[in-house]
Symmetry: C3
Subunit: 208 residues, 3 copies
């Protein structure tokens, strides 16, 4: 069992967890099951879809591998029937979401590296892949995007992707770089969850 | 006169009706004529545009066939001057919209079949083509997306596309399959309009 | 120093100004610095990105030229630290934004001409390039899109692009046509700012 299979499994897990997070918002908005599937699917695959569009890697990944859509539809439908059960395990979901975020940022960085060598673009694509599904979920549901609150979320993807590129530059090999990036992204996001860390926000300041 | 010309005429009719539905929201928001054209155009061609982007069929269809944009601009401008007249015929509009939905879902399914054989992706593209323009309209106008209310709308596109694929599998020929899919989508949406049918929504339930 | 370098400099200036306008909304919403960069970047490059996607010109322009992203990130970060200073120069910003709008509409028109000869599509792409970043900014921040208010904004891009095409048709040469288009777009937008001009909006009217 090599690293790519592990990443692949974590990727599918992450997409399922993102879909569940979307379906839970659908539950709060009292949608029907089609609404659950739509919001769950958009949340699960939205980030990777925007990345593929911007990079010109079309048809987008889930058109080539429909299993991803089956996963988001299945996870959303299960949430429709068991939303109360799922919602009571919110703490677990938050941690599973952190795994998804960490894996997505490396998958996004690797997809970008197939098109460009530029570090800024690679990091931006990593952040997009990890965060855009959640942004779409909030816009579609008429909520203020969570990402724009001072959570350390996009920042964790930024740190993970930067670490991945830094490790690649140190010639440790792609596998070690990917593992390092995933772990660092998870550590940053995990610390933010565990200690409720936030970035400082812009606000009224004392005169200088 | 063959089926393709009929579908083509219904397609343009559908896009005009979608544009009018967008322009009517612009009227409620008291926009200027440029806003009418913008919202009307986005509503009319938004679904097919997203489909083409995801499938990698670029430039998107209306860049290749600008007549579509002329139709949405014209329909939106007419609505600006005659919105009161149009709004008083809301019932007709709802039925014309059902025709558009039915035709769009088959057009979307056929566009997807040019790229993939996968039934899930074909059905998803059919639903997207039929519904995304209306979602964009609602997001741009700051309204909660109608689609996410428990109307049987995306569901009608789903049923129509599935019927189309099923009929193709039965080897009835492409024309019969397209007609069957369009009729079934229209029947489902029409029944929902006529009898005010809705899907059950997620909500507080009695304990089991 | 030829016209292309001047346009290129004005383009980067315009993108920086658009990013600042995005970051100022982030300031009003009290976001953290990552939120500033995200909203600033989306506002600065959103219009050109949508244009490239629709035309099939992928990877989109800023993936090929990452300097654009560095500009939006830098401008957004500076705004985070100096937002109060920037906000007190709102009047200047409005005029710099008018320069950006004027340049963007010609850049958008030229990008479209590389793909199509159709005047309607070229004008639509010019309007999209100049306006979509601001629409995305408002949607992401949960505000009603400014563009949909009766400001003469998209209209200025329309006039500029039409003038550019008209001048090209008169065989004055590409440089003169571009300068004419930019100046006319700026004149229209400038008049709207200086004299607070608006288009008439749809509203209750006396019976005819």
């Amino acid at each position: 069992m090599n690293l790519d299979s592990v990443i692949s499994v974590l990727d599918m897990l992450g997409i399922a967890v993102f879909a569940v997070s979307g379906a839970l918002v659908a539950a709060r908005k009292e949608m029907d099951i089609v609404g659950f599937m739509l919001i769950g699917t958009v949340t699960g695959i939205g980030g990777g879809t925007l990345r593929d569009l911007l990079l010109g890697a079309t048809p987008v990944f889930w058109v080539k591998q429909p299993a991803y859509v089956l996963i988001t539809i299945g996870a959303s439908a299960l949430t429709y029937f068991f939303a109360r059960f799922v919602a009571s395990r919110m703490r677990w979901l938050t941690w599973a979401d952190a795994v998804g975020l960490s894996v997505f940022c490396i998958i996004g960085a690797e997809a970008a590296r197939a098109v460009t060598d530029n570090a800024v673009i690679i990091v931006v694509m990593a952040m997009l892949t990890a965060t855009f599904g959640g942004i779409l979920r909030d816009i579609l549901c008429g909520e203020f995007p969570l990402l724009l609150k001072p959570e350390i979320y996009a920042t964790a993807a930024l740190v993970g992707a930067a670490a991945y590129l830094g490790l690649l530059g140190l010639d440790v090999g792609r596998d070690a770089a990917a593992i390092g990036g995933i772990c660092l992204a998870f550590a940053v996001r995990g610390a933010a969850i565990a200690f409720n860390l936030k970035l400082p926000t812009y606000g009224p300041r004392p005169p200088t």
